[in-house]
């Protein structure tokens, strides 16, 4: 019977051409948009992980309570041995210390008096030559003027800040802050370069200094405020990271000790989890929207087809097919059309993604005008999810359209068949 149905579908252009075309384009669009959203999501995750969240981050429980405030006075203390133990226990992770701090940047005039002051958000990272942090933060690409720090006492300034306070390379600046114990602290630096990340949150007031310099300035020799962890393959894998974080927290974190370590996944930090689930929901609702819209289009086509095939369905009922059987065969036709449309649609969607990825989408202007952390060039990420979402959308839409249109068969008066079939 299936072979019989397939023959019927392909010998009647009206049955397959437009339905397959509609399903195919819907699936292609759905695959493309799912890949686009996944690309956006991944770009957001990568940038967030790179600059502010890591794949996971270890902080004290007290620090985690006010995570956004970056209270380095709530840092983990005297944990050098534990830190080495963690590195050994979780070899799948790479561990990096960073300190995020706020300070006042003071620019002296020729007499050493304050000429300009500006608030800055500082980031202290390991800038020694072999550090992977330089690569991760893409500092070489972000460098606008000068060079990266090579020695103690050298600092990078945001290009925007440098322009604003008219600082040149080689100028001295003073960072004024407070140590983690609340004592005022000053340290002079030489500006050796300016950077622009294309991320307003960083570009508006960032300074980047070597970890050891800032540790000394903030009196944090025995403290670690934030330890960033990255999976070695650099790919954010939520499942793996969840397992690691759960295991770490079970072993090392103590709910009753606010200075015990706590590992936070990227998803757990601030509103990132809800933003990422928003992307997931948007994919889901977009898929539902497509199913409904395409379902309605196919429903309409199914109704027209039902009129065209009125006598065919009539004769089938007269010959002895039950209404359920006729309805099931219409659904089977829809499934066959849906499967073919999905196969073609997935292929077309992959082609769209491939073509799109040749150039990508330049988001640099968008990034400058928002606080979103995403890479400047957006590429689609074609994954199983995009293909499954597209395929399910196509299949459900195809079945929905036929399921709705096919209900007309139940309104058919069998007793009128002879009369209907005589006309």
């Amino acid at each position: 019977m299936l072979k019989f149905l397939i023959k019927g579908i392909f010998r009647d252009r009206h049955r397959w051409f437009f339905p397959i075309l509609i399903v195919m384009f819907s699936v292609a669009i759905m695959v493309f948009f799912s890949a686009f959203i996944s690309g956006f999501q991944l770009s957001y995750i990568r940038q967030s992980a790179r600059f502010s969240n890591g794949h996971t981050k270890v902080v004290s429980r007290a620090y985690a309570e006010v995570l956004e405030m970056k209270h380095y006075d709530l840092a983990l203390m005297d944990i050098d041995d534990e830190f080495e133990e963690w590195k050994a226990e979780y070899p799948q992770l790479e561990w990096f210390e960073r300190i995020n701090f706020g300070a006042l940047l003071d620019v002296p005039d020729e007499f050493g008096e304050t000429e300009t002051q500006v608030d800055v958000a500082g980031m202290a990272v390991d800038l020694t030559g072999s550090s992977k942090e330089i690569e991760r933060l893409q500092l070489k690409q972000a460098l606008r003027k000068g060079r990266l720090p090579r020695e103690s006492g050298e600092i990078l300034l945001s290009d925007l800040v440098a322009d604003k306070i008219e600082i040149s390379l080689g100028d001295s600046i003073t960072l004024m802050g407070s140590t983690m114990f609340g004592v005022m602290s000053l340290r002079n630096f030489e500006v050796v370069g300016t950077v622009e990340f294309g991320i307003p949150a960083l570009d508006r007031g960032a300074v980047l200094a070597d970890l050891e310099d800032i540790r000394e300035m903030l009196d944090m020799q025995d403290a670690k405020s934030e330890i960033f962890c990255y999976l070695k393959d650099e790919e954010y894998n939520l499942k793996t990271l969840t397992q690691i974080a759960n295991d770490f927290n079970r072993r090392y974190s103590d709910e009753d000790d606010e200075f015990s370590p706590l590992m936070l996944r990227l998803h757990d930090q601030g509103s990132l989890g809800s933003i990422l689930s928003l992307y997931d929901h948007s994919q889901f609702w977009m898929s539902i929207g497509f199913i409904v819209i395409i379902g309605i289009v196919l429903w309409n086509m199914g109704l027209l087809n039902g009129i065209r095939r009125y006598s065919e369905n009539g004769i089938r009922l007269a010959i002895g097919e039950s209404k359920d059987q006729v309805y099931a065969s219409l659904l089977m036709e829809a499934l066959i059309i849906g499967i073919i449309g999905c196969i073609l649609g997935v292929a077309l969607g992959i082609l769209f993604c491939h073509l799109f990825n040749k150039v990508g989408m330049d988001l640099s202007l968008y990034n400058k005008s928002t606080n979103m952390m995403s890479e400047n060039i957006l590429y689609t990420v074609l994954n199983a999810r995009a293909i499954i979402t597209g395929t399910l959308t196509g299949l459900f839409a195809s079945l929905l359209g036929s399921a709705l249109a096919g209900t007309a068969i139940y309104k058919r008066e069998i007793s009128q068949l002879f009369k209907e079939l005589e006309t």
């Binding site: 023959k7 065919e312 004769i315 010959i319 002895g320 007793s415």
Partner: protein, 233 residues
């Protein structure tokens, strides 16, 4: 010897609701059809021929009385049971052939057997037999739009006969055919009736068909006004 009854109609009536109360299309019908009969329901338009054919074909139910077709009480069958009866034991021939346009001759004839889930080899043998009965061996791959009206009706007959039904109901089967094709069709059906013993019940007012009938049941205003046996056909 008493012949087996394929259909028994007892005091049957069929009413259709109208704005002014029920309209009785059939009244007090009492008929019996024996296996192998070649009979016709004749009468003017509106006399109830098609309504009676509908009920005998389990496409409709009587409003009163009893109708038994091939041992099944038609008035007690639900839709699925009626479909099963039609699929297994009844054949239908329509005035306008109603072939499935996207399928060829072979496939149109094969279709009723697919519904019976018959195995491939047996199905093929039965389809080829049916094609042979109606003399369309050379048109096996043709689509309905490549056939003449007469050939289409022969396909329709083969489709009705392929499952070897016990009862074939034909509604004005020659209405769209010229004389030559009409006689050819009637000859074919008569031969099948004789060879396979299949019961044929026609609804017709075509004299050519009437001339072939061995039993003529005349309906007038929903009632049987005569029920005659013809000596020769």
């Amino acid at each position: 010897m008493m012949k087996e009854k394929v259909a028994i109609v007892k005091n049957m009536g069929k009413a259709f609701p109208t704005g002014e109360g029920d309209f009785w299309a059939l009244k007090h019908i009492n008929l019996q059809f024996e296996r192998g009969e070649f009979c016709g329901l004749v009468g003017p338009s509106g006399s109830g021929k098609t309504t009676l054919l509908n009920i005998l074909g389990s496409l409709d139910k009587p409003s009163e009385g009893e109708v038994e077709v091939l041992g099944k009480q038609v008035h007690r069958l639900n839709h699925k049971q009626a479909s099963k009866l039609r699929a297994a034991k009844l054949g239908f021939i329509f005035q306008t052939y109603n072939l499935l346009p996207v399928y060829n001759v072979y496939e149109n004839i094969e279709f009723p057997l697919l519904l019976l889930k018959m195995d491939g080899a047996k199905r093929d043998r039965m389809v080829r037999d049916a094609i042979e009965w109606v003399g369309l061996e050379d048109k096996i791959k043709s689509r309905p739009n490549q056939l003449s009206g007469g050939q289409c009706q022969r396909v329709a007959i083969a489709r009705a006969m392929v499952k070897r039904p016990e009862l074939v109901l034909a509604d004005e089967p020659t209405a769209n055919l010229d004389s030559e094709n009409s006689y050819m069709i009637l000859d074919t059906m008569q031969n099948l009736n004789k060879e396979l013993g299949t019961t044929f019940i026609f609804s017709t007012h075509d004299q050519k068909v009437i001339s072939y009938l061995r039993r003529i049941i005349t309906l007038t205003d929903g009632e049987v006004s005569s029920d005659d046996i013809q000596i020769s056909s």
